[in-house]
Every structure is written in structure tokens, then in C-alpha cells.
Amino acid sequence: MRAMSPLVEIRLVTVRELRRSFRSFKGVLLGIIAIAGGAGVSMLLAWIDRAKRESLPPGIDIEAAQEPFFTASYGEETGKAIAACPYALWTILVATLWLGPLLISLLDYDTVSGEVQHRSVRFWTVRTRRSSYILGKALGAWFSVLAVTLGMNVIVWGVTIGVGKVPPAQVLAWGARFFAVTMPISAAWCGVAVLVGSLFRTPMLSLLAISAAFSGLWILRVVAGLSDWPWLAYAYPNFYDSLLLSPRPSTVALGLLGTGAIAALTTGAGASLFRMRDV
């Protein structure tokens, strides 16, 4: 008998997870808050960006005006490369990176534990490899987060084009680039969330554990900056934003490798542990 491809299993579980996310009250509410919040904030930011551009002294372009700030934040090479970006889009990128873990923990905390608690998972384990179930759940969680953040980003792009003074093509190019930066980083956060969340049978415990794990990773980042162990920062997904924003392809590749490794290792560990446990 021909074995069913794990990819088909993963696709089926992922599609169902997406449907589940956006049908739940929680998913709809978080989506609305993220999108409406993004729209409101972007209005303000686009207006600030416009005022900033209009008040530039003659002979100074926006790139020159913003360069010192971005250079201080990301180093000279990357700072220069993104100095011309619309301020509103960069702010939304930073907000997405900072609020992403919160969105991910709230959106995904019950993705596995909720079905384990109510034993609904038993309908799946008879028909799906457990590793496919976890991978499908992780992908579904990631796509749900991407859908919400993309929705927010699209609104921000629209507002920036409408209110600001930046040409639409530039807004879309910078917007797409910044959104692309958030994709691998949110994949890494989702991997951590699925690994930690799947260890618990109670969604509330799962939420607390995910929050603790995310905070723990942030503390590692802080410790890395203050200690002789800078390599600890590699465990913190948001650390990779500066690598992913770099104009140098090899640095971007390193960022992709780092975030991909976190996502793969955590999801793989989650799948392995789930395969061994009783449901």
C-alpha cells in the first residue's frame, strides 16, 4: 500500500489550523486589534514622516537626515542601506518585532494544548503521524501570525502612500523588505511557542510557560550584551533583525540560517517529544 506523503498530512493540518485560528473569537479579536492598531499608529507615523520630510533644510535629503540614527542602531553598513526608508514603515517593523512574541503567544498558546486538554487530538493521532501534526500546527500558527501582520502591514503601506510624501513604489519596496524581515523571525518565535506549548495539557499553563520562555530568551539577549558571552544573543530570535536588514547577502543568509535553525530545532524537538508522549 502506498504511504501517504507527510507533506500532504502537514498541508491538511496546516490548512485546518488556519481555519481554526481565524474562526475563533480570540483569532478574530487579535486580528482586528492588530490591524486597527496598526492603521491608527501608522496614520500618526505617516504624518510625522511627512512633516519630517517637509521640514528638511534645503540641500539635506531624508537619507542624510536619518542616517546617523540608523547607523547608531544597526551599524554603519546597514544603517546607510536603510537610511532612506520611510520612518513609519521602520517603526512598524520595530513594533512588529517587539509585539510579535505577544501576538504569537496569545494566538498560539492553545494550538496544541487545547486539543490535548479536550482530547480532540485523539481524532488526529489515529490518522496522522504525530510529527506531521506538530509541524502542521507550527506552520498553521506561523501562517496565522503572518496573515495578521501582513494585514497590518498592508494597511500601513496604504496609509503611508496616502498621507506621506513617499512615492508608492518606494513604500511597497521598503514595506515588502521589512515584512520579509519579520517572516523568519516570527517563524522562530512560533517554533518556540509550539515546542513549549505542546508540553502542557492546560492552555493557561501553556500560555504562562510560553510567556516565561519568551521572557527567558529576552533575558539571554540582555545577558549577552552585558557579559562575556555575546553568543547567547543567537538564541534570541529578534537578534537577527540587524542581520536580515543587512545589504550584504551573506549576512542576510546568516540571519536566515539562525532563525531557520531556531524554528527547525524547536519544532523538531516539539515533534519528537510529542511522538513519545501519551495523549
Binding site: 500500500m1 502506498r2 504511504a3 501517504m4 500532504v8 498530512e9 491538511l12 485546518r16 481555519r19 481554526r20 474562526r23 475563533s24 486539543e115 479536550h118 482530547r119 480532540s120 485523539r122 481524532f123 488526529w124 493521532t125 489515529v126 490518522r127 496522522t128 503521524r129 504525530r130 513519545m276 508522549r277 501519551d278 495523549v279
Partner: protein, 327 residues
């Protein structure tokens, strides 16, 4: 015929749909299943019986692949229960107390499950509709699972278990919490599916199991205390019981039980009149005759003596057998 003797594994391995060999499951210090060996023949309807905490749901859960055994092994159609690829379309399970996904509609849920059984979408759709029709739930297709009543949800879960006509179906407490009418319909459904596949039912409802199952194993404190065909377990092919009107006594005058005349009936081996109940228990040699022939002859003798009869049963009944074994 199933030969199910604990602790040694029994039955023909070639004909076995399910098998456990020295199966053990511990939860910390507690041993929930203790060295259970049983064989369920292909095509049988098999009951797992026992009081609370006997280990039947744990045994069931290992056979369904939910729990990993601590020792021994379990096989379904020759594969480990966790061998999803080999079993996905061949094993259907109705888990106890598993909630249907509240956000999914009934149709979406069943189609999704059928697709995970490797059915292409059009076939999955057809299988889901057919399965839902079988449980008389055609009208629920677009209803959210979270809005179903307990009885409706149980029937959708049952439809899920029989989806795609699997060879082996495991049902954990299929009628628990259902009103009598729905429970009756579920029993009818299981009976209708009988013969075409192997069905294992774990249940507290002994009357239901006696009515539905061909074989059973009685568990107590994690061990099998008796097993075999339902006729063997209930002694239905060894004795008949005649319930008598209150106050009936032993004797030869009209209205009394002529015990010696009953004992003289050919192939009768034992006669026991329990005057407190009152009940006449007649044992017979099953190699020479059957229960129906003995019932006819015993009733003839009793009616000739004008004994008032209130009921007749073959054997002790599963409930009595369970009480005899586990107290």
C-alpha cells in the same frame, strides 16, 4: 473461536485482528494494565468489561495508539498501534470524552478526517456524507461541532470512527450519557456494522455488550480474570435459569417444583432450586444437547406440575458473571 486466557497469549495469530502480549502500563507507581495477553479474532465483536479502574480504557487507549505501553506489546492488524501509515485507513476509533473541534462544521471535520485517511477530496466528501447518513445526521453537515448536543456529538464521533469502512473499529463507551432512544439507535448501528469488520467495545453497559458482542474479556485491577465467547462467559451454553413466582417451593404437589423429575431429563447434569429468589438453575451437558432443547423439556415438566413461571434465561448473564468474578 477466541481462546482468551490470561496471562498466556491465545488464539490464532494468523486470524487475529488485534493482539496484546504481556501488555503492561504503569502510571507512576500505579499499574493500570498488568500483563494482559489477549487475541481478538478478525470479524468478531469483542467486549472489554470491568468495573471502574479495571484497566479497560487504558488497554483500549494502548490499542488505539494514544498511550505507549510500559511493557509487552500491542498489535492491530499485525502492526504497532502507532504505525499510522499502515493503519490510517484500516483502524477507526471512537475515543471516550474526546471533544469534537468546536470551530469546525460537522462536514469540514469529517471531510478533513477522511482526507487524512488518504482519500482524495471527492471521495472524502462522499465518504463523509455516507458516514453521517449512517448515524442519521444528514442535516448537521453545516452545523458547528461546538453547537451539537451530547447525543449528536457522540453520533458524529461515531460517524468519524466508521469513516471509510475501516477493518477494525474501537469504540470506547459508545452509548455513555446518551438517552435510551439514541443509545438504542447507536446499538442498532453497531449491530448493522457487525460481521463486516472487527469491533472492540469498551463499556460499562453489560446488557448492551451481552446483546452485541461475540466475545469478551473481563478485567479487574488491570488483569484479565475471564475471557472467551459470550456463551462461555455467561454459561449460556451450560445452564438455563427459570425464574419462578414468589413462594414457589420444592415438592410434587401442584404448584411445586418436582426437582427429581427435572433431574431425570436426559443430559441434565445439575438441578439447583434457589428458594429465596426463587430460581431453578438447570445445568446440562452441552456436548449432547443445547439450551433451547433443555428449556423446552424443563418447561414441559414444570407446566405439567402447574408451576408458575415468571421468566427464562440462558446462563447467568454477563452482569452476574462480573459480580461473581470481581465482587
Amino acid at each position: 473461536m477466541a481462546s482468551l486466557r490470561s496471562p498466556s497469549p491465545g488464539g490464532s495469530v494468523e486470524d487475529a485482528a488485534l493482539r496484546t502480549v504481556h501488555l503492561t502500563k504503569r502510571f507512576g507507581q500505579k499499574i493500570a494494565v498488568d500483563d494482559v495477553s489477549l487475541t481478538v479474532p478478525a470479524g468478531a465483536v469483542f467486549g472489554l468489561v470491568g468495573p471502574n479502574g479495571a484497566g479497560k480504557t487504558t488497554t483500549f487507549s494502548i490499542l488505539a495508539g494514544y498511550l505507549h505501553p510500559s511493557g509487552g506489546r500491542a498489535e492491530v492488524l499485525g502492526f504497532a498501534p502507532t504505525a499510522v501509515d499502515e493503519l490510517r485507513a484500516r483502524l477507526g476509533v471512537l475515543p471516550q470524552d474526546a471533544l469534537l473541534p468546536a470551530q469546525d462544521t460537522v462536514g469540514e471535520f469529517l471531510v478533513h478526517m477522511a482526507e487524512l485517511q488518504d482519500l482524495p477530496h471527492p471521495k472524502a466528501l462522499a465518504a463523509a456524507r455516507e458516514s453521517l447518513d449512517d448515524v442519521a445526521g444528514r442535516d448537521w453537515w453545516n452545523q458547528r461541532c461546538g453547537s451539537l448536543s451530547h447525543g449528536m456529538a457522540k453520533r458524529v464521533a461515531l460517524a468519524q470512527a466508521f469513516l471509510g469502512e475501516p477493518e477494525v473499529v474501537l469504540l470506547d463507551e459508545p452509548t455513555a450519557g446518551l438517552d435510551p432512544r439514541v443509545a438504542f439507535e447507536v446499538r442498532q448501528l453497531v449491530k448493522a456494522k457487525k460481521g463486516r469488520r472487527t469491533i472492540v467495545i469498551s463499556s460499562h453497559n453489560l446488557t448492551e455488550l451481552e446483546e452485541t458482542c461475540d466475545y469478551a474479556a473481563i478485567l479487574d485491577r488491570g488483569k484479565i480474570v475471564a475471557s472467551g465467547s459470550m456463551a462461555e462467559l455467561t454459561a449460556a451454553n451450560q445452564e438455563v435459569r427459570i425464574q419462578l413466582a414468589a413462594g414457589t417451593r420444592r415438592g410434587t404437589t401442584p404448584g411445586e417444583v418436582p426437582v427429581s423429575r427435572v433431574r431425570d431429563i436426559p443430559h441434565v447434569t445439575t438441578v439447583d432450586l434457589q428458594e429465596e429468589q426463587p430460581e431453578l438453575v438447570v445445568g446440562f451437558d452441552r456436548s449432547q444437547t443445547d439450551a433451547e432443547a433443555i428449556i423446552g423439556k424443563v418447561l414441559t415438566v414444570l407446566l405439567q406440575n402447574e408451576v408458575r413461571i415468571s421468566g427464562v434465561t440462558k446462563g447467568r448473564g454477563l452482569e452476574q458473571r462480573l459480580i461473581d468474578l470481581v465482587g
